[in-house]
Amino acid sequence: MTATTVNYKSVFDIIGPIMIGPSSSHTAGAVAIGKAAREVYRDDPTKIVIHYYESFAETHKGHGTDYAIISGILGFAPDDARVPDAVNIAEERGISVSFIEEQTDSPIHHPNTAVVELSNDKHAIELSGCSIGGGTIEVRNIKMEGYDISPTGTLPVILAIFKTPEDQDKFNKDLAEMSIINKTQKYLGSQRKDMLLEYELDTRLKADQIKALSALTDEMIYM
């Protein structure tokens, strides 16, 4: 067996997910893109704007992509019975929701692309995701707090800011024991001085592992 960076890392990416129909790429994958945006935002948005490109722009209505992506943003699982009603649920909560069918090619070069903007009166983020099939997604760009982050593969991805170099060393060591680290990238933001580290992992982490890693950081996002 050889160690290779691959998009589909688990048998359950192929047999699964258990989900509400009708489409794994346009429904379950869209839930996953929404969920990633929720993880990055870590707050309740008052405004959601979704830009669709290519296949997503042509077929989002038929595939239930709208309610799926909003479900992810609200934190519903792909098999939650509330999934088909998510847009109404968001609007009842006073969130402004809009969907825009873009006519241009995807800015992140994939036919199943959604760009998610979340905002409230305090802050805003933008996340560009694509659904590559079977419910698996890639997050190819994140704009948050002045950082412009470009991951290069499928999830899981960790974004972390550290207080001290010692914490960072310990984090790197602990993380390497939990998963193969496929790639690490560093980012400097335009708003804050701290360096942001982005880690692309080979294996999903368990809740206790995420908690232990998080304790070593100033801020951490796990997608």
Partner: protein, 297 residues
């Protein structure tokens, strides 16, 4: 991690283990999970599949919101009771199971995507008829899913499994090939025979386009899963009889990728070409969504 079918077959031979066992071990190692955890996770998928097969054919069946699909698994169940079927009761039951699952999917019911939701009926179509034909236990059925996933992971990582990138050959084609390979193992065939079944099943569906009417996972998706299941059983039988594909499985995957990349955008899940582009297909789209589909809402 296994990145070719050749590697998978070679390891099965040298370790004297079925492919299902190799992939269970790979999963445990990669996810740092116990065998019990991984097994249980796959059992849950099997339960969801069984529930969908039953729900879709029960009573009058299930129907999608648009009315484009539904109720046909139930029709097949009734037909089997009252008629001498042309292709044999097992084949028609496999078709019924495949259609039932995709009708549940189209009606926004709960399904297990294998490998995708659009191709969700193909594997259950094969699996639940083998349960009867071969007297498979629940354990055998969970194993079937692991074997299928071993082949599916290689396709997904080496080529594609999304209609938007590779057409329906990447979805139902992949599901059918996975089902054929797993059926061979369930029937006691060798790893090489699984690879041959896989190669034949995928070769038979090369070039299949993704052309959903109105962009919905209904027409022709539901019935393509019937063909996927039938094709898998045919390919598995041929492999068990000793027939070979001549073109190796890994090269068939590469061919599928090349064909997929060559498909025009209209035939890759945009709901524009193929059946979606017929006068009736377009009229259905207009009835469901109105004329101004392209205008931002």
């Amino acid at each position: 991690m296994y990145m070719s079918i050749e590697e998978l077959v070679a390891d099965s031979v040298s370790k004297k283990q079925p492919i299902s066992e190799l992939i269970i071990n790979q999963e445990c190692e990669k996810s740092h999970s116990s065998r019990e955890e991984v097994w249980h996770e796959m059992e849950k998928n099997l339960e969801v599949m069984r529930a969908a097969v039953e729900k879709g054919a029960h009573g009058k069946g299930v129907f999608s919101k648009t009315g484009l699909t539904g109720g046909e698994a139930a029709m097949l169940r009734k037909y089997r009771k009252n008629h001498v079927t042309l292709s044999g009761d097992s084949m028609v039951e496999a078709v019924q199971n495949a259609i039932a699952t995709n009708e549940v999917n189209a009606s926004m019911g709960v399904i297990c995507a294998t490998p995708t939701a659009g191709s969700t009926g193909t594997l259950p179509g094969v699996l639940f008829i083998l349960e009867k034909r071969l007297g498979l236990s629940d354990e055998d059925m969970v194993r079937f899913l692991f074997t299928a996933s071993a082949f599916g992971m290689i396709v997904a990582n080496k080529a594609m499994i999304a209609g938007a990138t590779g057409g329906c050959q990447a979805e139902v084609g992949s599901a059918s090939a996975m089902g054929a390979a797993a059926a061979v193992e369930a029937a006691g065939g060798s790893a090489q025979q699984s690879a041959e079944a896989f190669a034949m099943a995928m070769s038979n569906l090369l070039g299949l386009v993704c052309d959903p009417v109105a962009g919905l996972v209904e027409l022709p998706c539901v019935k393509r899963n019937a063909v996927g299941a039938g094709n898998a059983l045919i390919a598995a039988d041929m492999a068990l009889a000793g027939c070979t594909n001549k073109i190796p499985a890994d090269e068939v995957i590469q061919a599928m990728k090349t064909v997929g990349e060559g498909l025009p955008k209209a035939l890759r899940e945009t709901g524009l070409g193929g059946l979606a582009g017929t006068p009736t297909g377009k009229a259905m789209k207009e009835r469901i969504f109105g004329k101004n589909e392209h205008v931002a809402s």
